[in-house]
């Protein structure tokens, strides 16, 4: 797909350096993708639909690096969290919780009435494989849930190490939320042994929200076949069965499928490893800039800095919420801190099709605005003294 050229791939398709929207999801979406949403209506039982969906089902597993299956569901990623639990699990679940989203998955497991053990880490800390190993030694779990990259705190855990511990120390299913890691950094469903890997559309895939994508292993499907009451809408066995016909069991979100088809071509044209490298280069730019600008990463260990979203404390004396308000006036939309960190942090979503030059423009604006606020407060303090 990619033309022979010495110029670097323009992830923005013509808006290089001009992106000003850095929300950590929904992220900036290329106009070409927004246009694709408006494709013509058709029956989801027609050949034309199966042609479209067949293309998607062929490309999607490449994102997850699986030779097995990947599917879509007309829910947010949260819907597939629930589908994995509802379809495959009856026994005890170990939920690894280190931020708003992983906490929520644990809460969901409890609210479904499943026997749930919470492995808790502080927000901003990763889930450690060693801690998972200890929990697995204490009890036999049917499934383990873990969030690869906690969007709420910009903290990435060592998922391959966790996966290794889970598969060596138990025969539990491993459910991984790869919502802000897939297509932004390495995710290897087969190599690591992710039984269900769940992703939303509005993050590093750079689509609008409204659909979830996921890979599912034979082991997870076998577990689902053993479970009696899986309901219907969230039944992954149904999704698999209709997938064979290049259909969805229920009415799919046609606009999002049109957009997904177009965007998968774009992602594969960039090349998955190139895309990961681009995300890491954006993180590197933030890491090089932050100490000079007086910003500090929420996750202390640099090995846990997320390649897709940076959660940062502003310089002392600068209020995070005021800072982002001032950034808005400069034409930039960064993200605010999440949940309890809302008044304390800012978050920069450097993911999807956002490019490095745009990130640099954002960082320069942060410099200018934060320095202005510090200068103003120094003058204010001077006046008072």
């Amino acid at each position: 797909m990619r033309p022979m050229s010495s110029a670097p791939f323009d992830s923005t398709s013509g808006s290089a350096g001009q992106v000003r929207f850095f929300n950590p999801g929904p992220v900036w979406v290329r106009p070409q993708v927004l246009q694709a949403l408006g494709g013509p209506m058709m029956s989801h039982r027609s050949q034309a639909f199966s042609d479209l969906y067949g293309r998607i089902l062929e490309k999607l597993p490449k994102l997850f690096r699986t030779k097995g299956q990947a599917h879509t569901l007309a829910t947010s990623a949260t819907g597939v969290w629930e589908a994995a639990l509802v379809s495959c699990v009856e026994g005890p679940v170990l939920c690894c919780c280190n931020g708003a989203f992983s906490d929520k998955w644990g809460e969901m497991s409890q609210r479904l009435g499943l026997d749930t053990t919470i492995l808790k880490a502080e927000w901003g800390k990763p889930i450690l494989a060693e801690e998972v190993r200890k929990k697995l030694a204490e009890k036999k779990f049917q499934a383990v849930t873990v969030v690869h990259n906690e969007t709420s705190t910009g903290t990435i855990s060592d998922l391959p190490a966790i996966a290794k511990v889970v598969h060596e120390g138990s025969d539990a299913l491993l459910f991984a939320d790869v919502v802000t890691s897939l297509a932004g950094t390495r995710v290897e469903a087969d190599e690591w042994g992710l039984d269900v890997a769940v992703c939303g559309s509005q993050k590093a895939l750079a689509l609008p929200p409204g659909i979830a994508v996921f890979s599912i292993s034979e082991k997870a499907l076998a577990a689902a076949r053993q479970k009696k009451h899986r309901g219907l809408y969230l039944d992954l066995i149904d999704v698999e069965a209709f997938g064979k016909k290049k259909q969805n069991p229920t009415t799919p979100s046609l606009p999002l499928l049109y957009a997904l088809d177009v965007q998968l071509d774009h992602i594969l044209a960039e090349g998955l490893e190139n895309r990961w490298a681009r995300h890491h280069s954006m993180l590197k730019a933030v890491e090089e800039w932050a100490p000079k600008a007086g910003f500090r990463f929420l996750p202390e260990d640099p090995a846990t800095h997320s390649p897709t979203v940076s959660s940062l404390y502003p310089p002392e004396g600068v209020n995070a919420e005021e800072l982002n308000k001032a950034m808005k006036k400069e034409g930039f939309t960064p993200g605010s801190g999440y949940g309890k960190f809302k008044p304390l942090n800012i978050r920069i979503g450097h993911m999807g099709d956002v490019d490095l030059e745009s990130v640099k423009a954002l960082l320069a604006a942060y410099d200018k605005v934060a320095q202005g606020m510090l200068a103003a407060s120094a003058v204010g303090a001077g006046t008072k003294s």
Copy 2:
């Protein structure tokens, strides 16, 4: 909203008489609505989002004719069928089944492990209030499911009569699928006492698929509050709580919400009762045409003919599937029969923003094509004899 004019409201917004897509859902969508899908990305926790969603939550109850609440969920309508059962019901359910969709709701209830009684009517027959009354006398049910208008067979049941029986004869919750009745014919959530009324977007609302809308009564919410394990994604209590903040609990389908906002204005500008009347005039055109053209309605009783989708046997000697193939060559896309009726019937979706003149053009084309096929087979028969 509607300008002062003596000209009738153009439901197609400029394509009057030109619609050629008559699938009974997804239906034809105005280009203005397709364009609205491509609105800008924003955080679903931002004020801008709450402004959008607040407009929707204000307009939506008018469609359902409720002074209470109506909400959206990022699923198909099937997802809200499941949400109603998962959120509100623990005890026995009476599922009224008279077609592919109502059968599926019954199957869902069984697959959720609920104690389910099926009241079965033949495909093409309505659910009779009297039969519901008998079932309610036999057992105490916590909920009754009924599909107002069976899209699979083009058969409408007397929902107000059924609702009366349910509320007089029991204190069961009444869950109604109004997928192909809402905004196409009278639906009165408050007056009839619909505890959950569920609708998809891709039918008489004339939006693309990808979101569900529903009304919910205080009685249904009270039942949900009593139920311990409601999960999270399908928990209608969460949806209600976040609705108060003009938000969704999980990531909403932003493109569909943009489109819904625009389309609710369009529907309310036409006027709900005018919209119902327009749908009934399209049915009337089919009813007047059918006997002359040798087509026969699947539902025998004219009182049960659906105002939104007509399911018809073609003239004797004309194969339904061949007929629709020939219609495709004429530039028309009608619907095929559903499920077991696929080889036997055609279905005409006369709903959403399709206009009467376009329906008349379709019927004229059916005349021409069916007559041509009959003439060809008569010649063929003549040659053979």
